[in-house]
């Protein structure tokens, strides 16, 4: 990819670094390993979800079901570990199978019935949340030594920060996603479909397979995020992660991916997640905002980021146009 397409990525990165420095200047404690470790651990499940969302948005779609899928995964795991004696790893495999299959089914409906993703995944969102309720309305604790063992895997950095397994898992997911998106045919097909599904089809991109694959990835990663969420809270709760889909979409967009599809980077999403985490950490450190000001500030920061990106985008395209113009003249 050329420099100019990577620009939004660099802009996002620069924004994050700048914002972090500003925050740390105001609250020196924010530069501690604790805060850094927290950024990773606390956002692990959201980060993983956002990877799947990046695939979907790159292809020009959207997946509103992820929050519900996470909740369903949690409840499913909690209930199955309570009711049966199967090993959590088996349960993980089972739940990943279900969520991936669920994603694939939505992809199939979107492709074969030619229905808009927004609506199909909205119905999926109702369905998964509903299924979670049916499994259990109460929050179900998970107690299993394997869970305890997984949770005990962390590296305590000097300064008290705990780098946990889930954070590492998130990083791993990003690396894997980068490889898939930029180094495999499937990844290229995702971008192609995002550019224009019809043209991609005329160019020989297997549209059905790719669409189904994309939503399967999103469903599967939401399942993985669900597993991470159970590790995070040791419980399954049907009311958990309401509205997470919007957080994930916001992170993807802040990361510089176009909602119209075809342009963006999963690495951008990573910084999008970190920026959102930073916003929240900052609000906690500040600690004086009322409930409503919290919302307004989050909305305002979202707006500020989008405008900043827009502005930088305009500035650079104007420059590029000037450059090409002089090219043509020379």
């Amino acid at each position: 990819m050329s420099q100019s397409t990577k620009l939004p990525l660099y802009i996002t990165l620069a924004t994050f670094v700048l914002a972090f420095v500003l925050c740390a200047a105001q609250y020196p404690a924010m530069a501690s390993t604790r805060v850094v470790a927290n950024l990773l651990t606390d956002n692990a499940f959201l980060g993983i979800t956002a990877v799947g969302m990046t695939f979907v948005i790159l292809s020009g779609g959207i997946d509103l079901s992820v929050g519900s899928v996470i909740a369903f995964t949690g409840v499913f795991l909690a209930v199955i570990l309570r009711e049966t004696s199967i090993h959590p790893l088996v349960a993980f495999a089972l739940v990943l199978l279900i969520t991936t299959g669920f994603g694939a089914a939505m992809g199939g409906i979107i492709h074969y019935l030619e229905m808009p993703p927004f609506i199909v995944t909205l119905a999926g969102m109702f369905l998964m949340r509903g299924l979670a309720y049916v499994l259990s309305t109460e929050s179900v604790p998970i107690t299993h030594e394997f869970y305890d063992w997984l949770q005990s895997l962390y590296w305590k950095a000097p300064g008290g920060g705990r780098f946990r397994l889930t954070g590492a898992l998130m990083l791993l997911t990003y690396v894997a996603a980068m490889i898939v998106l930029h180094r495999t045919r499937f990844g290229q097909n995702v971008y192609a479909i995002g550019g224009s599904a019809q043209t991609a089809q005329l160019m020989g991109v297997p549209r059905a397979r790719t669409t189904i694959g994309i939503y399967a990835v999103s469903g599967g990663l939401a399942g993985l995020a669900g597993i991470v969420y159970t590790l995070y809270t040791s419980a399954g709760y049907s009311l958990a992660t309401v509205g997470v889909e919007l957080d994930a979409i916001a992170a993807v967009v802040i990361g510089g991916t176009l909602l119209t599809g075809g342009s963006g980077f999963v690495a951008g999403t990573f910084f999008g997640i970190l920026i959102m985490g930073l916003i929240q950490t900052y609000i906690v450190f500040d600690g004086t905002l009322s409930s409503w000001w919290t919302k307004i500030v989050i909305g305002g920061l979202l707006f500020a980021f989008i405008m900043l990106q827009k502005g930088l985008g305009w500035a650079t395209t104007a420059r590029i146009r000037l450059l090409t113009a002089s090219d043509a003249r020379s």
């Binding site: 604790r34 606390d42 959201l46 309305t137 929050s139």
Partner: protein
Amino acid sequence: EGETVGFSQIGSESGWRAAETTVTKQQAEERGITLKFADAQQKQENQIKAIRGFVAQGVDAILLAPVVATGWEEVLEEAKDADIPVILLDRNIDAPEDLYMTAVTSDQVHEGMVAGNWLVEAVGDAECPVVELQGTTGSSPAISRKKGFEEAIAAADNISITRSQTGDFTRAQGKVVMESFLKSEGGENICALYAHNDDMAVGAIQAIKEAGLKPGEDIKIVSIDSVPDIHLAMKAGEANATVELTPNMAGPAFDVLEAYWADGTMPPKWIQTESKLYTSDDDNAAIYESKKDLGY
């Protein structure tokens, strides 16, 4: 002496919670405590983030109003490692007791029972079909208040729940669902309404009035929370009873903290707030006046 306390609040989903936030801030101010307030917008993950943020900042204590009972071990362990006492407000959690200093809560099952007992007493032997407005599906008050109420009326054969739907703890849904109850059961076949919170009851009262019935007489109304507007309704004879859930959970919590800071006194593990029953016999006008400025 300038202690800093972090307060992780669930959100501001109801008037009661807004009042709790207001009271907590007032209490902190009165005692010269710096309060760091974090609104979690209904999300557990945000609460966990907030707690981790408080730990990273090195606050002197943390107040936590947990959105759900499970999933706190890990983060509370981190607080414990950092020697920061944690006090739970208004709900208890499923976690080893050594992870928090104490819990200042009401007993939500008990609240449901108080409401149920009142109804049992109020109807006596008369046949009484009850409709129930549940809280948000899956939320812990909805589950506990349902359970407590059912236990209280279990013994009374004449009282039974005929319809039960969720009203999401909101006035609007309370009204909508009550409208539907009135039609599907017939207003004359409903003897009482039990609502998991006052807001839904207030909505339902309006639905009953619009259907041409007299709330409080034709249909008895009992609910929980004791927000100002329900006292207004009780004063007008449109509601019959409410069980108080005090928004002042922070007061006892700060008392505990101050004692602990002073000489290391450890409190008991559970400080139960009173679940007081108010009926139309009380001076509802006065109660309304006393509550109306608390930010409900």
